[in-house]
Symmetry: C2
Subunit: 337 residues, 2 copies
DNA sequence: TTGTACGCGTTATCAA
DNA sequence: TTGATAACGCGTACAA
């Protein structure tokens, strides 16, 4: 343990006295591009570490009105992809000097209070990460004027006051639909996620439109109330129990991997069928488990690292107009379809 | 959108003018147990919502030296159980008025800087959540004197300066070992997680000791470098390839579910064997996937909600002596063993 | 390169 | 119950 006898609050003033300089020189020593002589800085830093001094970021934020802090709102912890997103985002943020407030949007009614909460911490930006927001939530977020930036990550929004950083869902879905066509599947079924009034992904609609256009046929579908593999398994087991080979789908296209994993489990263990021989499955996200020898899931991988890096770019930009950007990922073909 | 015309910083002063009271009365209105007449408070709150005023928590923290903020340090995002922990912790914290700083400990060398980072935000406590800390990390954390409390969640630590909130690993492991004995398994194999100098779980040691005591036999084992299902699958596939039925284990006891899931995948898809008929598997944590029709994993469930609630109790306590506490969970028996 | 008022928005404490 | 003074620790702007 370092021998920092000063157990109480060490401030820049204390360091100033110890180093024989003024308090402002101490602060300069901790600023990156400050005009200060290397010798003075060295002297200050020595005294600082001697006393165990580190600048107080609360005070800095208060004085400069810049917190280097963002709020990450998350509402759906059942989806394993959230963990991957959290890792990539916190990594990109922290390695570039940003801290992260993780806000659990406890339930549908809590989105407003959650945003108010973040705004009281005077974060520089609020990030909705794959959240089931609706227009009310957005209005609440935009109403809390202190939120400099409102970023929708991994989802698109048409609201001009938000910045959306996401994969091009339409293009990705068309690529998936074309793959399904090219592989010769005839009876696809679309398994969508939660459908809110304004915030659901357009993947289902895109897939159905593409299929209709190319085959003149309508694709049946259903929607899960949440991205939860166990719930998905139950739904699939229920939906396709006792179906004839000729009427059941030959491929189930899932809105994401959480649903796809549950679907595969149900096909094997509840319907007693094989993947992909009897029913094939496609997912979206490429969660770690998708690559496991058990699932070998064909899925669409988003460029999360690039998206996270871009998010930090946006934060560091003073302007926030026209920052919305879509990315392109890639279809990862494995054995499931 | 609410009609809060005042777009810039609204402070208590503005509200005071609007409500015709002093600034201190405004702040009182927002304090829970303040001596203020209901009428005055009502008047203040009305003016406040009119202007869109919410107290600035940075300033409050600075003035009161109490931030109502904790730092959650996480180093291992491959383990799906982390997501469950994050959900339970943020839920308990936020519903009782605490905010959460999520700090990604980017790599082994980064633990120190991560802690320093949190201490600069003047958090009221730092929580190590299932982290692979070692003595150096603890020393660094304790060296940053501003951390009022250092809490080790879901792991035990003998360091008297820390508060550990965890399940009784020894008791849990003995229960597992006894179950394995009772079910008549003869050749167990222990699959452990990362082994650091000072911070690994004692589950493996406990299991081996229990088995030795009751059967006089030594249990073979191996250790994965991280709690990652895909890595676990590879290791198991490698370890038991081409083994005779008589020499291979009849049960693999895993330090947690991430390893157990990989183990099951490998047994089925790489070794071509059945679970539990050829090799049984036991995990620890009861992640959501453990209940899926595919894994039906026998595992040990920790009382996470109670643990999270207790954590907030600890935060609200002024004393921090003798706050370490262990919990008891329960063995969830499913089909895998 | 270094030093100096002043302000950031709140809380603690005491006085009215 | 209310009002007022003095911190809390640092940043900005400017002067030395």
């Amino acid at each position: 343990m370092p021998k920092n006898e000063a157990s109480e609050n060490v401030t820049a003033d204390d360091v100033a006295v110890a180093a024989g300089v003024s308090r402002w020189t101490v602060n300069r020593a901790f600023k990156k591009d400050a005009s200060i002589s290397p010798m003075t800085r060295e002297k200050v830093m020595q005294a600082a570490s001697q006393l165990g001094y580190l600048p107080d970021l609360r005070a800095a934020a208060l004085a400069s009105d810049k917190s280097n802090l963002v709020a990450l709102l998350v509402d759906d912890f059942a989806n394993p992809h959230k963990l991957v997103m959290l890792e990539r985002l916190t990594r990109a943020l922290r390695s570039r000097g940003w801290d992260t407030l993780l806000v659990n949007t406890l339930n549908a009614e809590d989105a407003g209070p959650a945003i108010a909460n973040a705004s009281q911490r005077r974060v520089d930006a609020t990030i909705l990460i794959g959240i089931q927001f609706d227009d009310e939530v957005l209005a609440a977020a935009l109403g809390a004027r202190r939120l400099q930036k409102l970023i929708i990550f991994a989802r698109t929004s048409e609201n001009p006051n938000t910045i959306s950083i996401a994969v091009d869902d339409a293009a990705a879905t068309r690529e998936i639909a074309q793959y399904v066509l090219d592989r010769g599947y005839k009876r696809p079924f679309y398994f969508a996620g939660p459908r809110t009034v304004s915030a659901h992904l357009m993947r289902k609609e895109t897939f159905l439109a593409h299929w209709l256009k190319h085959t003149d046929q309508t694709v049946p579908s259903m929607s899960a109330p949440s991205y939860d593999a166990n719930i998905a398994a139950e739904m699939v087991g229920h939906q396709f129990a006792n179906q004839q080979e000729t009427t059941r789908p030959d491929i189930i296209v899932c809105e994401n991997d959480a649903l796809a994993i549950g679907t595969i489990d149900a096909i094997r263990h509840q319907l007693g069928l094989r993947v992909p021989e009897d029913i094939a499955v496609i997912g979206f996200d490429d969660v770690p488990l998708a690559a496991s020898p058990n699932y070998k899931l064909t899925t669409y991988r988003q460029p999360l690292t690039a998206m996270a890096d871009y998010l930090v770019d946006v934060l560091e930009q003073s302007e926030s107009k026209d920052m919305t950007r879509t990315f392109h990922g890639q279809l990862i073909t494995r054995d499931s379809a």
